[in-house]
Symmetry: C2
Subunit: 209 residues, 2 copies
């Protein structure tokens, strides 16, 4: 292969510039474009071809993982390496499910990044042992926590967390107080907690509210 064409998608300009500066020193690859949001990436993919995209998960607008899903339908040969701060299993699992070919945390070093790019570019997957472990550990948890909240439930949860009372919520949603209570009870069962306090805590930690 001549030189690997790479696109960088990250909302932090300094990080992008740093990466570009770093990767430019390597002769085997070429940075053909950069994007500061998922939407911008999808846009520039219409006109730019590349082999590998380094992408951050958390970006303004469309989520990085969602971008991967969309892009892989349109450009099946394009390979994505997720490059993120999040060293949590749940993110790794989601990234894999979204179709990422590699996953690196931002405290990886230059050599690892180059290795990952080279591996992924030839169609291999790159997940180091640390990441693989996170993924496995998370699978079990994932099984338990797979029961997601429905849209309506999330709506109620948000109002509850704002300190609104069941009656107020019922009035606002034009349903009976009973319904609101049912939603709350169902959420508590799903998240396996005993009362509202714990529910809010879990929801907050799961970034649901």
């Amino acid at each position: 292969m001549s030189s690997i064409k790479v696109i960088i998608a990250d909302d932090h300009q300094l990080f992008r510039e740093g990466l570009i500066s770093l990767l430019s020193k390597s002769g085997s690859l070429e940075i053909v474009a950069e994007a500061e949001s998922g939407d911008q990436l999808l846009d520039l993919l219409k006109t730019t071809t590349a082999h590998v995209v380094l992408i951050d998960i958390s970006m303004p607008g469309t989520n990085g993982l969602e971008v991967i899903r969309q892009a892989r339908e349109l450009y099946p040969d394009l390979k994505f390496i997720v490059l993120t701060m999040h060293a949590e299993g749940q993110y790794v699992v989601k990234a894999v499910k979204s179709g990422a070919f590699g996953y690196l945390v931002k405290n990886a070093d230059e050599n690892e990044l180059l290795a990952a790019i080279n591996e992924v570019a030839i169609g291999k997957k790159y997940f180091n042992s640390e990441i693989s472990e996170l993924m496995i550990t998370n699978m079990a948890i994932e099984e338990e926590a797979h029961k997601k909240l429905s849209e309506r439930e999330t709506e109620v949860l948000n109002l509850v967390s704002e300190g609104k009372t069941t009656k107020e919520i019922a009035a606002q949603l034009f349903v009976s107080a009973r319904t609101v209570e049912t939603h709350r009870v169902n959420m508590m069962k799903k998240l396996n907690v005993q009362n509202t306090a714990e529910l809010i805590k879990r929801a907050a930690h799961l970034k649901l509210i």
Copy 2:
């Protein structure tokens, strides 16, 4: 001034490497050291002198802002520029109070970073208008939220967030249920919320639990 000596403290190796690569291209400064944690920074300051430290807030071990406080007592001439992802007013305010001379979000560009380093190195402060605005906006809020929770209150809050009931908490802490209620009420007043649900949410967001 000959060349500005800079230390980089950030727990993400790729970010450090990127920054080094980026800043090396400028002739007016020299990167003399790097640290991947606050404690490591404090350690290397014992043997290394520098003019400016670029520091991230969120690092393992001692918090970046706490590091600044400690370091400024020992090395009053050392200037800190906070370089972070957090574009929230509360962080800016805390950084200023901790004695930071500059504050940049990681999506600043290379020119801004160089400008900030040069300004700060000669003893000036560097906060661009966006950051200043955040700070001002936050001052009012800060005034209200300055009432911190006491140790006992935090203890109660933790138990509440675990779904424990007032009675259970009272039993566990060997005090009356009344006392626990009082603590809760006081916390709600301090955090300016209406009920437990909102209390937990605020506490979770403030990283208190």
